[in-house]
């Protein structure tokens, strides 16, 4: 922490080509470093610090420095020391937080750009200090959490900065205003803080996310919400903590189903605000770590999902999407999945470039878009105690009959229907690519023909002694480059198809089990 507060480098004040002293400043003090001549005994150096004046010199000689200070200082907490060959004068600023452009009045001032930089650096320090002060009075905060909540505060300061398409995707807004807001250069401060945060976050080595740890409460809430509204699709927000390589999800709340109405947008944001505020009052973790959504038979790989991910990723360093499939859970398995976009895909999406070239460069194929993270369910000790108490006594009578269901036909049928639809979409995409390539080659042929003609013409003109015409003609429509269709859609469809395949495969495998078991029972 101290390293962050220390200034980066000292400013040098030269006069007449000679370095008079070096100086720097922190939030509450200014340090002046004076090089001392080597052949003078230490006892002869003196430094007189007054509230608005400083005097440095050797006893018995005219003073080396005898100037007014740029701003007042606290004399009782200012001091000077001799360190090696340097006199280090520490001046305690009376007005903490004020940026000094120079220690000495009227001389050695920094250029306006450096003054600006200094000011920003000090503001950042102050911001950081207040952050830590806030964090230290709340129990159980980890450093990564502070980072998350800082970026959340960023959103509260500038709603115009986050242009989320859907309010579900916007990160929740915290109502926490510092007096820093009273600063004049508002937007500049924001930009500076954002760049600072980005710099800091890229400096830290973020361990890769290995597991998502969910509390039983969050799992049950998600299941309840999705089941209640099935077959309609619903979404909700996940709250929790980001700890190293584990993302903990401790609580969640559902979003109300949104109708296609513009006024509901503001309502939705209000709802989020309310929920976050109320949950904070009862000590629930107030950090968004992602969102959850229900899906129908696994058809969730859409462009909207990616858009939502990108929106979240801008604001939160690590976020995850939990997908729950109520129809599969009725088959007896808990269909809960945690998804994340792979980093390489995110970079590509940021540049919005999905041409084949780029993809081959990065060796990205359709499996690399989403990354599935294993989920671990954990419970607090109290809840485990309750569960062991309340668990029904005879496990035999309470078995999951659903798993023994032999009639899985409807489920498989629906899966197959979706699969067929997806195949049709895929073939449509393939046709698009075919069309594009055909056009491209046709254009090439046309270009060649035109070029030939031009060359012949030029020969003729040369023979006649005229200027040759240029060999390129950008205004000619046959030279217009044809845009390559984006491959993103076909990748997503391929993902869907593979998902359906896996699901049906699973069910088919189970079917085999059941059939053979029936056969065995029958023979008995």
């Amino acid at each position: 922490m101290a390293e962050k507060l220390a200034p980066d480098k000292r400013h040098s004040f030269t006069h007449g080509g000679q370095k008079v002293f070096e100086w720097d400043q922190t939030l509450d003090e200014v340090n002046i470093y004076v090089d001392l001549p080597a052949n003078v005994p230490k006892k002869l150096f003196y430094c007189k610090i007054q509230s608005a004046h400083i005097e440095v010199g050797i006893k018995g000689n005219p003073p080396y420095l005898n100037h007014d200070l740029a701003c007042p200082v606290k004399t009782d907490s200012s001091f000077w020391t001799l360190e090696d060959e340097i006199m280090h004068v520490t001046l305690q600023k009376r007005d903490k937080g004020q940026t000094w452009s120079s220690p000495i009045l009227g001389q050695g001032s920094l250029d306006p750009y450096s003054v600006d930089l200094e000011q920003k650096r000090l503001m950042l320090q102050r911001f950081q200090e207040e952050e830590y002060a806030y964090a230290s009075c709340q129990s159980g905060y980890s450093p990564s959490r502070i980072q998350v909540s800082t970026s959340l505060r960023l959103n509260s300061l500038g709603p115009a900065l986050t242009q989320g398409p859907s309010w579900e995707a916007r990160a929740p807004i915290e109502i926490f205003y510092f007096d820093l807001l009273a600063l004049a250069n508002y937007s500049e401060y924001l930009a500076m803080v954002r760049s600072f945060l980005q710099a800091v976050s890229s400096e830290e080595v973020t361990p890769p996310l290995r597991v998502v740890q969910m509390e039983g409460l969050a799992v049950l809430k998600i299941i309840k919400h999705c089941n209640e509204f099935s077959p309609a699709l619903v979404t909700g927000q996940l709250l929790g903590l980001d700890v190293g390589s584990v993302l903990e999800v401790t609580n969640c709340f559902p979003f109300p189903t949104r109708e296609e109405d513009e006024e509901i947008e503001a309502d939705g944001a209000n709802y989020q605000l309310e929920m976050m505020r109320c949950l904070r009052e009862v000590n629930v973790d107030n950090n968004t770590v992602g969102w959850y959504q229900s899906t129908l038979l696994g058809s969730f790989q859409t462009v909207e999902l990616i858009e939502t991910f990108m929106n979240y990723q801008e604001n939160i360093r690590r976020c995850v999407c939990i997908i729950y499939d109520p129809s599969r859970s009725s088959q007896g398995a808990l269909a809960l999945k945690a998804l994340k976009l792979t980093d390489s895909f995110m970079d590509l999406h940021r540049n919005n470039n999905f041409t084949g070239e780029k993809l081959r460069e990065k060796k990205l194929s359709w499996v690399d878009i989403f990354e599935e993270i294993p989920i671990k369910v954990s419970n607090s000790a109290l809840v485990s105690a309750f569960m062991t108490e309340l668990e029904p006594e005879s496990p035999v009578a309470q078995c999951d009959y659903d798993r023994l269901k032999l009639s899985t036909a409807p489920y498989v049928e629906r899966n197959l229907e979706f699969l067929i639809d997806c195949m049709e979409d895929l073939s449509a995409e393939q046709n698009k690519f075919q069309y594009y390539y055909r056009n491209l080659s046709r254009q090439q042929a046309q270009q060649q023909a035109w070029l030939q003609k031009r060359r012949v013409e030029n020969m003729a003109r040369k023979a006649a002694g005229e200027e040759p015409l240029p060999e390129e003609d950008p205004s000619n429509p046959i030279f217009k480059p044809i845009p390559e269709p984006s491959r993103l859609d076909s990748y997503l469809i391929t993902n869907q198809i593979s998902n359906y395949c896996n699901q049906i495969n699973g069910v088919a495998g189970q079917n085999f089990n059941r059939l053979y078991m029936m056969k065995a029972l029958h023979e008995n």
Partner: protein
């Protein structure tokens, strides 16, 4: 002569049903409570149908308790209620919960508050007539009797003449209800899936005498096995073979599709590397 009269509740509430989400939520809030509070108080949401109160959801409300006074954050309660109603308008206020054992004096005050809230929140008269007085749930998180005790109470007014003396909290039967998916979700730690196959295996173990046979389980197993419908072997074989063939066809189809996907991808990539010179026809 003044007679002690007990007024029965307006509509008979026979029992209450609790969803495990509520229990988890209460425990979670109890673990997170501020240090100076002994217990956690919150609102219960759910539905009432046919004399059974089904408690489906809950949220905690911050409160302060001292020797003679209880204060509740009404604003918070109302805000959360509105927010929850936005998500699910059918889940209405049905009562309140507190952790700890038994019903204390402070609880009676809080109960009165909730009675008033319930009256305020029911909008039309018809609803008010059908409304049921709020249920009070206590969850013993301290395990004071060495066991988990979750009890639900209905309040009954004791009055002497015109003055109401006290409120008697009568316990009503409570049962923990879990739907299939919730049951799967509530198994903590590694999911202990109970499948029929292990049970058959364990029945074989019983027969071999390795495990002390439990009569109940043995009888249950034999009943189950006996209840398998008897079909003639020919018919069964036909059905069986048909199903197996269908499944095999499915599996074959799926692997075909997967091969198709990877080939399509490779062809696309190849078409690009060959570039604009050759036209490759990509057949699907």
């Amino acid at each position: 002569m003044a007679v002690l009269r007990i007024f029965p509740p307006p509509s008979p509430v026979l029992s209450a049903r609790l969803h495990p989400v509520v229990l988890f939520s209460i425990c979670d809030f109890y673990v997170r409570r501020p240090d100076q509070a002994d217990r956690v108080i919150g609102t219960l949401l759910g539905t009432v149908f046919g004399g059974v109160v089904e408690i489906k959801n809950s949220y905690a409300v911050p409160h302060n308790e001292s020797a003679d006074q209880v204060t509740l954050d009404v604003e918070h309660h109302r805000n959360m209620y509105m927010s929850h109603l936005k998500v699910n308008p059918k889940e209405v206020l049905v009562g309140w919960y507190s952790t700890g054992v038994g019903v204390s004096g402070g609880s009676a005050l809080i109960h009165d508050f909730y009675v008033k809230e319930l009256k305020d929140s029911t909008k039309d008269i018809r609803e008010a007539q059908n409304s049921v007085p709020p249920v009070h749930l206590t969850v013993d998180t301290g395990f004071s009797n060495g066991e988990a005790s979750i009890k639900a109470y209905m309040s009954v007014n004791l009055s002497l003449g015109d003055r109401s003396l006290a409120a008697l909290f009568q316990e009503i039967p409570l049962d923990l209800r879990m739907i299939e998916a919730e049951r799967v979700g509530s198994l903590h730690g590694p999911f202990t899936f109970r499948c029929a196959a292990p049970r058959l295996r364990c029945s074989m173990i019983y027969q071999e005498g390795q495990v002390n046979p439990d009569n109940d389980i043995g009888r249950f197993l034999s009943d189950t096995l006996a209840s398998v419908p008897k079909i003639s072997p020919v018919a069964f074989d036909k059905v069986f073979n048909d199903r197996v063939q269908d499944n095999l066809a499915l599996v074959y189809l799926l692997s075909l599709i997967r091969a198709q996907l990877s080939i399509a991808e490779k062809l696309n990539a190849a078409a690009q590397t060959d570039g604009q010179q050759t036209t490759m026809s990509i057949s699907t």
